[in-house]
């Protein structure tokens, strides 16, 4: 098993970070690559965060409400 980080993606010139508004999946949930697992809000946009790999969420590091910069690790996903 290995672990992949879900990070705050590059948000372009629009923003250097944002605020976590919701987790749609919880620790222990199985997720598929590309599945929307959380939402983040910038000043202008609402960004859907997709699971980078198929696996299981083993830890959520930034709860809803947290201010997070681009590149910040939000969750860990365990997979084959």
């Amino acid at each position: 098993m290995s672990t992949t980080r879900l990070r705050v993606p590059n948000l372009g010139a629009e923003a250097t970070g944002g605020r976590m508004i919701a987790w749609l999946r919880a620790v222990g949930d199985e997720v598929a690559a590309g599945e929307v697992v959380a939402e983040l809000e910038t000043e202008k946009a609402t960004v859907e965060l997709e699971a980078p790999v198929t696996g299981r969420i083993i830890e959520i590091l930034q709860p809803a409400g947290a201010e997070v910069p681009v590149g910040e690790t939000l969750a860990l996903i365990e997979h084959d």
Binding site: P9, N10, L11, G12, A13, E14, K44, A45, T46, E48
Partner: protein, 737 residues
């Protein structure tokens, strides 16, 4: 009185469908048209589509390496691929802030050897890789980029490859009209494509270029990439209707509506448009497409809530990267292995570009510092080197013993005619220049007598024809633009100030912009506040313009010739009050040259230096003569060139070093005065030479009023000149004793 009965005049019901207009057709591919297309062409189309997608994807994924916004063209690849594949290598395109797809498609098809067939090739040919790498490097701001990193993503140019982009919405459209004009004047049977978005159909540049192209039946294809949004604003909001091809109807111009997600359909539309453009005149193509991401950056538009995810899914299902190869396989034209090979080739191409300019580090992908341009070279290419080598006899300013005096007006007309006669790339364009026996001021009289075919009377569209002149100049034509009145430059500020002076620099200092704008200062004619400016200052504050304001007939000849020889943008001012003045031409006659940086000592003196030119000089000389009788010795210098780069700083400092006093005299209203600029040019060396504060004599600081006594009062007044000279000379003398 209210009209009680039903109106006798009926208003026709609006809101027709585009296809109800007789000039508009929808492009439908005939059955078998795909199969009839050469396999190499289809392979190239697929390769270009994939190359654009891979290129854009890499940049979005590495946006931290891009300084500035990334307006991704993802979703619009098929428009560019289809367009470029229907063009000849020598055809030109202009595009926009969202132009990576257009630039790549044009440069790949330009660079591709005739035997390059992506479905069989083992590797991407070196010229193709070079062209893509130079585009890639430019977007990253690197020295090896197309423009040396000066232009970046939104300002890309490769004149040989036939691409030029502008970051200003609509900015490239008149430029394409000018490139088409160049093709027409040179008889090349080439076309120019103006690629632009739906948002650009709102701006004047589009309408002016369309007017010009239709009036002159120029070989232009107006390629409207309708991706349906101006940033987040919909067509309903910007146009009131959605089928933008209808815009063509107002110009009596044919239009085609085509599926912009299908490269073969776009190719068919472009091929038909190209044929029509060369034979008859402009065509508009509306390609219906969609940008998959927001205006810039990696987020979808739906993240910003101006459109829905459902709408995005609808367009994602039409993705040319998936649909086009599937169609090729389904039609039995390509095998699965072949389409996969083409995609791999495109991926390898972008991978090679990335490998050429980046390194993998433990902290991620980085660009080696050595690849960035040197700050020591930051001024490269603002202007060209000047007039180049000029034969010494052309520089000789001494009038011949038997020289005949000619009027200033004859000098203007004569030297323009001389250029049209000696340079087949030279032409004049402006309002009325081909009518009235030589334009409204008679200054194209000579040219009309000898080369009327290159004296082009324009529609009333300064931004359109200034942009067209710029486009032609980028291709090495040598336009002479006449602005009927100086203030009309304000109609064309986008082209005259935001494009022309910046082009040489922002495109890397590689491409010359040999273009002259001439106009007549018309103060004192009762034309009032909207015709009465002296525009020297306006152009002078934009580096990249040279500005000259000749004071005599002989100087007009010499300065106009230099303006043309520099192959830089040059503003040449004349003044109606000078037109009847006369002077003798030097031995070189109409070929006399006065290079930038060459001031003229008009009158030697000891007590005060007066800098004056144009009408102001004419006014100073008699005042100085009169004061000589009162024992005041005035030195007068005409700088001839007024922009910072061309200004003869040494001559001015030398004179002030001897007199210790400086007066700058000009007729412009005070806020439009060059005097403050000139003092700035001379700093920091000026002040230690002065024994008294420098003085400026200008017009009053109001726009020219119409009432004659008022206008006369607000312009340069002799008593003000005299007072300033006396004050400076007296203070100077006191300082000396």
């Amino acid at each position: 009185m209210a009209v009680q009965s039903a109106p006798a005049v009926e208003i026709a019901e609006g809101h027709r469908s585009a296809l109800d207009y007789p000039n508009i057709r929808a492009v439908e591919l005939a059955p078998g048209q795909l199969a009839a297309t050469p396999k190499r062409t289809l392979g190239l189309a697929l390769f270009v589509v994939h190359a654009i997608r891979q290129f854009e994807r890499w940049l979005l994924d590495h946006a931290e390496l891009v300084h500035g916004p990334l307006h991704s063209s993802i979703g619009q690849e098929a428009v560019a691929a289809g367009m470029a594949l229907a063009l000849e290598r020598s055809d030109k395109i202009t595009s926009t802030h969202r132009a990576h797809h257009d630039v790549l498609a044009k440069l790949i098809t330009y660079a591709a050897p005739t035997d390059f067939d992506p479905s069989t090739a083992d590797e991407v040919p070196a010229p193709v890789e070079e062209a893509v790498l130079r585009t890639f490097a430019e977007i990253l701001g690197l020295e090896q980029g197309l423009c040396g990193g000066r232009g970046g993503s939104m300002h890309l140019a490769d004149v040989d490859g036939g691409v030029m982009t502008s970051a200003i919405v609509g900015g490239g459209i008149p430029v394409a009209a000018g490139q088409a004009l160049a093709a027409k004047l040179r008889g090349t049977r080439g076309v120019a494509v103006a690629s632009f978005g739906d948002g650009a159909t709102s701006i004047g540049a589009f309408h002016e270029a369309a007017t010009l192209a239709r009036a002159w039946n120029l070989p232009v294809i107006f390629l409207l990439e309708n991706n349906q949004y101006s940033v987040a604003t919909t067509l309903r909001e910007t146009a009131g209707f959605e089928q933008l091809a209808i815009r063509a109807s107002g110009y009596d111009m044919p239009a085609l509506i085509v599926d912009g997600m299908d490269p073969v359909a776009v190719m068919a539309a472009t091929a038909a448009a190209r044929e029509h453009a060369v034979a008859k005149g402009p065509v508009l193509i509306e390609a219906l497409t969609y940008r998959y991401y927001h205006q810039n950056g990696p987020l979808p538009g739906s993240a910003f809530k101006y459109r829905t995810k459902d709408e995005e899914r609808h367009w994602a299902a039409l993705d040319p990267v998936k649909v086009f190869p599937a169609r090729l396989v389904e039609a039995g034209l390509f095998t699965e292995a072949e389409v996969a090979h083409v995609e791999d080739l495109a991926r390898a191409l972008v991978g090679a570009c990335a490998a050429a300019v980046t390194v993998e580090t433990p902290d991620g992908v980085r660009i080696p510092e050595a690849l960035y341009p040197s700050t020591g070279d930051v001024y490269r290419g603002v202007l060209g080197p000047g007039v180049g080598d000029v034969a010494p006899d052309l520089l000789d300013a001494t009038p011949a013993a038997d020289a005949v005096e000619i009027t200033y007006g004859a000098a203007v007309s004569g030297v323009i005619a001389r250029w049209l006669e000696r340079d087949p790339d030279a032409f004049v364009l402006g309002e009325e220049v081909g009518h009235l026996g030589g334009g409204v001021f008679g200054l194209t009289k000579g040219a009309l007598a000898t080369t009327p075919e290159r004296v082009l009377s324009t529609p009333i569209c300064e931004n359109g024809f200034a942009g067209a002149a710029f486009g032609a100049a980028l291709l090495g034509m040598h336009p002479i633009v006449e602005l009927m009145y100086p203030d009309f430059a304000l109609e064309a500020t986008d082209q005259l100030l935001n494009h022309i002076p910046k082009a040489r620099y922002m495109y890397g200092g590689i491409h010359e912009v040999p273009l002259v704008v001439r106009t007549q200062i018309s103060r004192g004619r009762g034309y009032g506040p909207q015709h009465g400016c002296d525009p020297a200052i306006l152009f002078s504050i934009f580096p990249g313009w040279r500005v000259t304001s000749p004071s005599t007939a002989a100087d007009y000849v010499g300065l106009f010739n230099a303006a043309m020889l520099t192959r830089d943008p040059v503003l040449v001012l004349d003044d109606h009050r000078l037109m009847k003045t006369t002077s003798a031409l030097p031995p070189a006659g109409l070929d006399y040259v006065i290079p930038p940086g060459t001031a003229r000592l008009v009158r030697a003196g000891r007590d005060v230096t007066v800098i004056a030119w144009g009408h102001g000089l004419q006014r100073v000389v008699p005042v100085a003569e009169r004061l000589a009788g009162e024992g005041v010795s005035v030195e007068i210098i005409d700088p001839r060139w007024l922009d910072r780069a061309s200004f003869d700083r040494a001559a001015m400092l030398d004179s002030v070093g001897r007199t210790g006093a400086l007066v700058i005299v000009e007729d412009a209203m005070h806020s439009f005065s060059m005097g403050g600029q000139i003092i700035d040019y001379l700093l920091p060396d000026l002040f230690p030479l002065l024994r008294t504060a420098p003085l400026r004599v200008t017009g009053e600081d109001v726009y020219s009023p119409v009432s004659k006594p008022l206008e006369t009062y607000v312009h340069l007044r002799d008593e003000n000149i005299e007072q300033a000279i006396l004050a400076a000379a007296e203070a100077g003398r006191k300082g000396r004793s």
